[in-house]
């Protein structure tokens, strides 16, 4: 799941998906248009070969990024930049929002996002409303060939789907796969 972050001194704390899209397309350029300070918005995003970049573009912007957006080389680079820049806005995977001990990282505020003006504004860290948070995408694993039963790959897959594996996934900041995904996976694994 992707979160949208701003500097900790930024008063703006929630936005609709539409607003976020407009900001990243360059249609909204100043924080005061959103109830914040009179400061030009500095956009941080990923580089064009990044999956995050493409996903954010297709689901949130539904258009092209503003040419002024600064491409950073990774999630952490965006966090560092937003920390240092009061006018910044960036998007990062939620795994990067908490440190190893589970505390939220300092220096940034995480925006609550709503589907539209009348929906609820949800924070990506809200574990109960996880499935209603709008900016999320599934990650797939690909293999070159069908793994044989009891091969290292097969055992690794079983580990991933076990309770212990799922726990690690959750601790790394990713959301569980849905029940539909679970049944799809079981079908695929049965074919091995």
């Amino acid at each position: 799941m992707l979160s949208v972050i701003v500097n900790e001194n930024n008063p703006v704390s929630k936005l609709t998906i539409d607003h976020i899209g407009k900001i990243y397309k360059g249609e909204i350029t100043n924080w005061k248009e959103l109830g914040g300070k009179d400061q030009e918005i500095t956009l941080y995003g990923r580089q064009s070969s990044s999956g995050t970049y493409s996903f954010f573009m297709e689901h949130v912007l539904k258009g092209d990024y503003s040419a002024k957006m600064r491409s950073m080389d990774g999630n952490q680079a965006i966090i560092n930049a937003v920390r240092q820049d009061e006018s910044a806005m960036g998007y990062v995977g939620i795994g990067y929002l908490v440190d190893e001990k589970g505390n939220q990282v300092s220096g940034i505020n995480i925006l609550k996002v709503a589907k539209d003006k009348d929906s609820e504004y949800i924070s990506p860290l809200n574990k109960e409303k996880l499935h209603e948070y709008t900016i999320s995408r599934p990650l797939y694993q690909y293999f070159a060939n069908k793994p044989a039963k009891d091969s290292a790959i097969y055992n690794f897959l079983m580990f991933e789907l076990s309770a212990q594996g799922k726990d690690i996934v959750r601790k790394s900041g990713f959301d569980d796969i849905t029940t539909l995904d679970n049944s799809n996976n079981e079908e695929l694994l049965r074919k091995i």
Partner: protein, 296 residues
């Protein structure tokens, strides 16, 4: 017997010359591989779109655009910005080391400056991110310091040793007669430097500057970390820039091999190769003229 010895000598010489040819082979291979991959990009991108288009957007929402103009401008801004800083600083240091400093001081300062050349660019980039860019942001009241100015300063630091070292070599290798003749005519030391040495060593100094220019154009890691990397055409040195080197570095890792994006990145690499080749060629010609003028 003469013949086995001569034969052996010939073999040895041939072996050495073949080994030397490897350098040539490497250079040609680099060009070939850049060319065969990069040229494929132009089957789908027109030359004018590539060189004159100013939006680089390979994964656009609609049609991808492949204009590298803003990338070229980014590279040029760093080249110019870093030279503006490094030339006065470098030349002044070279003059000091060659003409003014006492030998003991020279023995310490010269190696010290050459040690800057030993600092890896990624370390300078790191210092740029954590120290220099917040500083620049503070001084100029910007929201952040990732821009052409910070990049120029970092690159200037990197090319300083090159400019100082070569200029100093040029000056010290000028014949003593030049100095003695000038001073004998009543010139002060500075007048001697300004009116005799600098004009005489001009070509060598220009060559040193061109080598620094080549390095500035080719610098990758340090600028990648502090340039801001936005594709918009910069309006001033306080704007973020995306030089060609940083663009390749930032996108090459996750690009699909063999795709048009991949080929376009190689095309940019080809442009970089040609640029640095041209700079080197010009500085070669200049050096040759300097050597011919003052055969010593």
């Amino acid at each position: 017997m003469q013949n086995p010895r001569k034969f052996r000598e010939k073999i040895i010489e041939r072996s050495f010359s073949s080994v030397s040819a490897i350098s040539l082979l490497i250079l040609i291979s680099i060009f070939i591989f850049l060319f065969i991959t990069g040229i494929k990009a132009f089957t789908q991108i027109s030359l004018s779109d590539f060189f004159l288009g100013n939006v680089w957007n390979p994964t656009a929402y609609g049609e991808p655009t492949w204009g590298i103009l803003s990338l070229i401008v980014g590279t040029l801004m760093i080249a110019i910005g870093s030279l503006i800083i490094a030339i006065p600083l470098g030349l002044a240091s070279a003059i000091y080391l060659s003409e003014i400093a006492r030998p003991e001081i020279r023995e310490i300062v010269k190696p010290a400056i050459e040690m800057i050349a030993g600092v890896p660019s990624v370390v300078l980039g790191l210092i740029g991110i954590v120290f220099l860019s917040p500083l620049i942001a503070n001084i100029f009241g910007l929201s952040n310091g990732l821009n052409a100015l910070t990049s120029s300063i970092i690159v200037a630091i990197m090319i300083l040793p090159t400019i100082i070292s070569i200029s100093e070599d040029v000056l010290t290798s000028l014949p003593k007669d030049f100095r003695e003749a000038s001073l004998a005519l009543g010139a002060t030391k500075w007048q001697m430097i300004k009116m005799t040495l600098l004009p005489a060593g001009l070509s060598g100094i220009v060559a040193a500057i061109m080598l620094g220019l080549g390095r500035a154009v080719g610098e990758t890691m340090a600028v990648l970390m502090v340039a801001g990397n936005s594709i918009a055409m910069p309006a001033s040195f306080f704007d973020p820039i995306r030089p060609m080197t940083a663009n390749i570095a930032i996108e090459i890792n996750e690009v699909v091999k063999g795709s048009l994006h991949y080929e376009a990145l190689f095309a940019i690499g080809l442009v970089l190769f040609v640029m640095t080749f041209a700079v080197n060629l010009i500085s070669d010609i200049i050096i040759e003229r300097q050597v011919r003028k003052y055969k010593w």
